[in-house]
């Protein structure tokens, strides 16, 4: 690129950045600012009502106090979350906010001087008034790179993103030669965050060198793993970081068009990406002559239609072309023969979100984080039986134990840890003995699991491992596209065997045939879906074989989870005559008092929903689960 053009880019960007900064300064103009976390998880907890309550309250009192909507801060266990920044105080994060608390916060903190410590989760900066997030044990392990903006900027305002240093990496990249950009990413050792961990720089290089025009770049946001929500959060909370990464990638590989393929189940992510694309176009960060350079690039949004297999890159491309999403054989790889037969790079959301940081801070900075083979950080979505559910970002090489017990604060209700399900339907369940494994792309393979895209579901003593294997098989069986016989029929057979187990049927020989079939399905399937579908079975068989045996030989579910193998029973000597809590709670009217006013469950009517168990007052604690059901004493 010529020198004149380079300065033109810099000048164009400086103008944009200046405006964004003045916009940002204006927002903080010596006045309080209320930020409400309103990503999907926050909304499920009622964040929109809280937002409305703040707005009403501020309007009613005629205050100079902007109320803005931000994304997900990662502390999903305490949703709805609110950050209030008031001059003279550190920014304070409040949790479990509802409209009543919102009203109080305005009255007492915005108008008065009481920061209401009873609702505080933590302050964002160290101070001598309130505990800050840095004092939390999780702060030792967390290192936020791609989640840094999430929850701290309004995702629908491009100025917020630019004021925080956004699009500076694009301006820098446009001043470099495209091959140098590829080289920088290659040197950083950035590996694809979609699960397979293929080096992104190599992928870019193959595509750059491939013949054929136009070239395409696709952002894979078809996050289908049940139990994973990292990509959703990033697209909802910081869409521009992904778009900037895509534009840089497009420049580096010489692409003309980009597509963002988002799951239709993520309506808010779709909306935020659409807004972000429009804003980027208006500022000439997209379109012809990006920032006044010779580079032309456009991005379109494409909504997936709910097929798990479309997370596989060749299936995703077929879906983009308007066909059923069936994967095809590789090679040829999409980098040579992708969308419409042209060279195409498919990158995961998180992979692209790292790009701008690598360009601005350099490959050496990135390789300094994490492990040698897997540099950088990793984002996990913590869910299941864990205290601090939510999003965490830690350097590669952090152990599972640190993530679950220190960052996630362990298992709630004093229960015992049993297993961690990692990598979704392609991954496996790892027991306590594997907890000291450092997490990176390669370490978990030996234990039979994989890192996957970042879903981590923690299981405790109440979770049945046979049932979880059955659950994942039910999922992969339903989502198998049907192209390969082993995947189509094999998953079905395995599911039937597992279903039998959870109902107390089946024999010990079935375990052997299940293992054999699992090997065949792995070997006989074309794409990752079939190749990894048996992993949940194989790992649970490896680490929790005794549970399988209890189901088959004793008809007993040790975790008291499999509905066919349990019964609810009211202990007559504990049941209180004057209490009718369970009768009122029963959703099918299966509980009635006997002559002594002791409550009895009609086992024929009972649907085993467990509501009565929750309803029974703790001082009586009269309802128990029994397995096998024959344990229930006859009348």
């Amino acid at each position: 690129m010529k020198a004149i053009e380079r300065t033109a880019v810099a000048a164009a960007f400086d103008k944009i950045a200046e405006r964004a900064e003045s916009h940002w300064r204006e927002l903080w103009n010596n006045r309080p600012v209320i930020m409400v976390g309103a990503a999907t998880c926050g909304r499920a907890a009622g964040a929109l009502d809280v937002l409305q309550a703040f707005r009403d309250e501020v309007k009613k009192r005629n205050l100079d106090c902007p109320v803005i909507e931000v994304g997900c801060m990662g502390h999903c266990y305490a949703e709805p979350l609110v950050i209030i920044s008031k001059p003279g105080y550190p920014p304070i994060c409040y949790g479990y906010v509802n409209p009543v608390i919102a009203e109080r916060l305005v009255k007492e903190f915005i108008l008065g001087d009481n920061p209401c410590p009873e609702f505080v989760i933590g302050a964002l900066e160290a101070n001598d008034l309130l505990p800050s997030f840095d004092d939390f044990p999780r702060a030792q392990h967390e290192q936020k790179i791609i989640l840094k903006n999430c929850g701290h900027i309004d995702p629908t305002e491009i100025e917020h993103y630019i004021a925080g240093g956004g699009y500076a990496a694009l301006a820098k990249a446009l001043a470099m030669k495209p091959e140098d950009v590829v080289e920088e990413v290659r040197r950083s050792g950035l590996r694809g965050r979609g699960g397979a961990g293929f080096p992104a720089g190599h992928k870019w290089q193959y595509c750059r060198e491939a013949r054929g025009r136009p070239k395409y770049i696709i952002c894979n946001a078809d996050e289908g793993d049940p139990g994973a929500f990292m990509d959703r959060s990033i697209l909802e909370s910081d869409p521009h970081s992904v778009i900037e990464g895509m534009i840089i990638a497009g420049y580096a590989i010489g692409a003309r068009y980009g597509y963002i393929y988002v799951r239709a189940e993520y309506p808010l992510a779709v909306e935020h990406v659409r807004i972000a694309l429009d804003q980027a176009k208006k500022l000439n960060l997209l379109g012809n002559h990006v920032l006044g350079s010779n580079f032309n690039f456009d991005i379109s949004l494409f909504q997936g239609s709910g097929a798990f297999v479309c997370g596989e890159e060749t299936a995703l491309i077929a879906s983009l072309e308007g066909k059923a999403g069936l994967p095809h054989h590789r090679p040829p790889y999409p980098t040579a023969h992708g969308l419409h037969g042209k060279p195409t790079v498919v990158n995961n959301v998180k992979t692209l979100a790292y790009v701008r940081h690598i360009i601005s801070q350099g490959a050496d900075w990135f390789t300094g984080i994490g492990t040698d083979e897997s540099p950088g950080t990793v984002v996990f979505a913590l869910a299941g039986k864990i205290v601090n559910t939510g999003l965490v970002e830690v350097p590669m090489g952090t152990t599972l134990r640190q993530i679950i017990f220190e960052v996630g604060s362990g298992i709630p209700k004093g229960k015992r840890f049993k297993a961690v399900q990692i990598g979704g339907p392609s991954g496996g369940c790892l027991p306590e003995s594997a907890l000291d494994l450092p997490v990176d792309f390669d370490s978990l393979q030996g234990a039979g699991a994989m890192m996957g895209s970042g879903g981590m579901v923690v299981l405790d003593e109440d979770d049945c491992m046979v049932e979880i294997a059955r659950y994942f098989l039910e999922f992969t069986q339903r989502e198998s596209c049907g192209k390969c016989t082993f995947c189509r029929l094999g998953t079905r057979q395995m599911l039937e065997v597992l279903t039998d187990f959870t109902q107390g049927k089946g024999t010990m020989e079935d375990i052997d045939s299940l293992e054999r079939l699992a090997g065949d399905v792995k070997a006989g399937s074309l794409c990752g879906l079939g190749q990894t579908a048996p992993n949940p079975i194989l790992t649970t068989l490896r680490y929790f074989r005794d549970e399988y045996e209890a189901h088959i030989e004793l008809g007993r579910c040790p975790a008291l989870m499999c509905l066919h193998l349990i019964a609810y029973y009211i202990l007559p000597d504990k049941c209180e005559r004057s209490c009718d809590a369970c009768i009122g709670s029963c959703t099918v009217e299966a509980i009635s008092p006997n002559k002594k006013r002791i409550k009895v469950i009609d086992q024929e009517k009972c649907v085993k929903c467990g509501t009565c168990l929750t309803a029974c007052p703790p001082q009586y604690d009269a309802i128990v689960k029994l397995s096998p059901p024959s344990e229930v004493p006859a009348k």
């Binding site: 189940e265 059923a324 659950y471």
Partner: protein, 178 residues
């Protein structure tokens, strides 16, 4: 996929065709447009009736079976009309482990239908969804586009009660205005 017998009248069919044609005008005649077209038509009509699919096939100049093939491949598309309220039970890992399947049973019992079906009065339709990404609020049910967290069987009854009250209030208003 259960296809309810089409009980649409010819008038309704004609209207469906008209609306499909209007939507088609905004798209290029490339195969690439197929999925966005289907999404838009379903957004407008609520489902994909046969006549809409044949219109689309003609417009794109592809066999009707290709359209049908794509529609039945993806979970998002439906072949029967939806209810006025949609109930979608999340069966992601976290929801499942926290009892999403028990919640689904409760919905099935309350509504008297199976997933992918619509109640006879066309008031509710029930479906499952792989994961809505609100795993921390498990078990989740999406009621009319709004994700509701921690929906257990008693909460199912509560949501149904709210709908009933809403309907009663509306009926009352209506009878008063009459």
């Amino acid at each position: 996929m259960t296809t309810s017998k089409q009980t649409t009248s010819t008038g309704e069919q004609e209207q469906n065709k008209q609306e499909t044609r209007q939507i088609l005008n905004g798209f290029s005649r490339k195969r690439l447009s197929l999925i966005p077209i289907l999404q838009k038509v379903q957004g407008k009509l609520g489902y994909l009736p046969r006549e809409a699919m044949t219109e689309i096939a003609e417009y794109l100049n592809i066999p009707a079976i290709d359209v049908y093939g794509v529609v039945t491949f993806y979970n998002q598309f439906r072949l029967n009309p939806p209810g006025r309220h949609s109930i979608r039970v999340c069966l992601g890992t976290a929801c499942h482990m926290k009892g999403g399947y028990i919640t689904l049973d409760a919905w099935k019992r309350r509504l008297g239908i199976n997933p992918r079906e619509t109640t006879a009065d066309r008031e509710f339709d029930l479906d499952t969804v792989a994961c809505v990404g609100c795993c921390t609020m498990a078990p989740v049910t999406v009621v009319d586009e709004k994700p509701e967290g921690k929906v257990e069987p008693t909460r199912v009854d509560g949501i149904m009660l709210a709908f009933e009250q809403e309907r009663e209030a509306k009926d009352k208003e209506k009878s008063e205005s009459d």
